[in-house]
Symmetry: C3
């Protein structure tokens, strides 16, 4: 039975809790690498990124190495992709080389459906299309778990280009699973029209005093050409300024998946504000991904 | 005495049999990586690819890692090549860093002659010019060995752009060594004019019912600009369609070095046909290359 | 206390001697990798090169692997840099991933000043701007130490584009520390106007008979556009020809940091002349960098 990690949606809350606890374990043992390093020894992953990425690719690479696994980086630009090979054939080839898992990022929303013929090794979604980035979702849940006694009932604002954000997509899935309340903020044209028990569209300045966390999103200029966005106006309306941070309640935190645009969606001086957990999220990303890599290779069925 | 792996031609049939048997050993032990992982521990290879490649580069990388060796990937585009350094000087520098072997792909037919001054570490040919791709030749022999009781007397059709194919070049060398009969098929302008005891030019449809294996080649559009090739006409005349597969005799197999163009030289549904060993070839490629990496670093003279 | 390796200037001569001796130790044990391989086990470095490099990047990578450490290669072109991320934010992210050291090359002279906020892991200067390349300086000192009984009093000519050479910059710093006499030679427009106890501007042909070593520099065409330099004239005036080598005194040696332009600043046949230590420098580079990587992670204060 192959265990894939494609979406938070297909995992039970128990499974997600299990992954979070395992990530916490890795966090506690970060200063004792020799306690961890044998866990995936002799295992081999392939990092296959069809879109540029610093954080996520390196994060998976560090996670694999911390567990004693090897990882090969496949860079599509330098390869047979130039010769017109399909994603399926490229991945089937990597699978045939005997890798133990494939970590894939791709711009296509439905890339994993097109790869259902690949079934001899686990696939790990490192960001697909505009909807899903489940390892980011897991690290966000880990970060919230470290700050608050329980996830249920937490109020979170997400602000920015939500329509094109797979980070927001995965957090909204998590919110429904764990009973968190999500407030979507940002320019009207960039916010999906959702209104249900868990997810509402709100004004940023209205919800800031109430939320436990605000997740700022990068304006992904490369994804919506043609949109006229004056950066200064954007910052005034939706940017997380020092003034807006002062509206936030005690113990509330600031999140951002990175990379961020200083001075556009977040003020320069807010990035490393005491409330900010932005770089903590990156640290947590390694622990979350260690838990994911270990899980997909663990024995047992998909419900473990 | 440095042992290079540059051409099947310079190896005896005994040496090649020895490499095939060692590759079979690695194949049998693929589920026990700890039995293998110490064999090249603390050894360090450099992967130096002046031409794009998915399969071969990753295959050598996986092979090295399975043996416990380290490998560094040298990507000429990001490097001193931009500053005008010659291949000799780049490789001499890598050699000076203390690597234990250099795995080289280059477009120049005579690249290894130009590197004869490099003689402190083994060189491994990962595809040079239009003529030689000996690790592919070895994996093809391994794949045939797994299917048939002996190599001598096997009939193999090679179909496609044979003039520009180093895969075909290495298979023809192997055929002469092992007494296999090769039939060259494809557009007249892409077939070399060879006719000897082992190698003949033939019509694909005439030989298909007789051959034990058919090796389809990718039409390497990047290598013969100016040739007018209508893809549909090509498929009709030379493509491996389902109908053509039905002409093949019992136990015969389909080979392709990859990457393939579905619908041009091979029908979409033939790629994973029960007769196809295309992805098996890729799996075998790792075992063949493990045998090669171990051999070049083994003590003894070039005849071992 | 974090130990950075940013400049030879901030190290005492005792510290530099300590690093040289440790590099010598690694040189003596190069055939016993298992004696060395445990020293930095489970440590993880990031190689971050904003400028192309073969030698230095691979040299650090080999050095890390020889010590049993892991290394991840961060290639800015394939990453968030495309999304406009600053160097500080990229490195802060890598630091957050838990790497144990960051090896950085960048074109900006003052890049490390801009990164002073990064203080949880050691930074290693792999070449910054036009002034500093301290690991090259260390390997040059190591190479001189292997040839001569002591550094003090050695006379060294540096010839070429000294103004734009960080290699020259680091060697001049070392000269002042160790009491070596440096003679700057080359086209007047490419030589800084320095004249003190240790550093003088001289005519190449005048000093060649007197120096213990001549360090030839590559003409870095990419760094001074607009300069009209006829290659043949340059070679005649400043190139290290066989004739010029014949002027050099007994036991004197030829150095070059590479990559070199054969026939421009150095004659083709001089590159591997018996006096040349050019490829020896590359071999020494690995040992010097092993010493550096070990030092930055060693306990104790910056004076150790």
């Amino acid at each position: 039975m192959i265990k894939h990690f494609l979406s938070l949606n297909s995992l039970s809350t128990d499974q997600i809790h299990g992954l979070i606890q395992r990530a916490q374990f890795f966090s506690r043992h970060q200063k004792q690498p020799d306690k961890i390093h044998h866990l995936l020894q002799h295992k081999l992953f392939a990092n296959v990124f069809y879109e540029p990425s610093t954080r996520t690719r390196c994060s998976f690479e560090v996670a694999a190495k911390r567990l004693g696994a090897e990882i090969i980086n496949f860079v599509p630009e330098n390869s047979s992709v130039k010769k017109g090979e399909t994603v399926y054939d490229t991945l089937k080839s990597l699978e045939s080389l005997g890798v133990d898992g494939i970590i894939l990022r791709h711009s296509d929303d439905n890339i994993f459906e097109s790869l259902s013929g690949l079934n001899t090794c686990p696939m790990i979604n490192a960001g697909a299309g505009k909807h899903e980035h489940p390892s980011q979702g897991l690290l966000d849940l880990l970060t919230l778990t470290q700050e608050f006694p329980k996830l249920a009932g937490l109020k979170i604002a997400i602000c920015g280009d939500i329509k094109h954000s797979r980070v927001a997509g995965s957090l909204m899935i998590a919110a429904e699973k764990f009973g968190m309340e999500i407030h979507l903020c940002g320019p009207e044209s960039l916010i999906p029209n959702i209104n249900n028990t868990f997810i509402k569209c709100s004004e940023l300045d209205n919800v800031l005093p109430e939320v436990d966390a605000v997740m700022m999103l990068r304006i992904q200029l490369e994804r919506h050409e043609g949109l006229e966005l004056d950066q200064k106006t954007y910052f005034e309306q939706f940017g997380l300024s020092n003034h807006r941070v002062s509206l936030m309640k005690e113990k509330s935190i600031i999140l951002h998946p990175g990379p961020f645009n200083r001075g556009i969606e977040i003020a320069d001086e807010v990035v490393e504000h005491p409330r900010s957990r932005i770089f903590k999220q990156m640290t947590n990303g390694v622990f979350a991904r260690m838990a994911i890599l270990e899980w997909v290779l663990s024995k047992g069925n998909e419900n473990d």
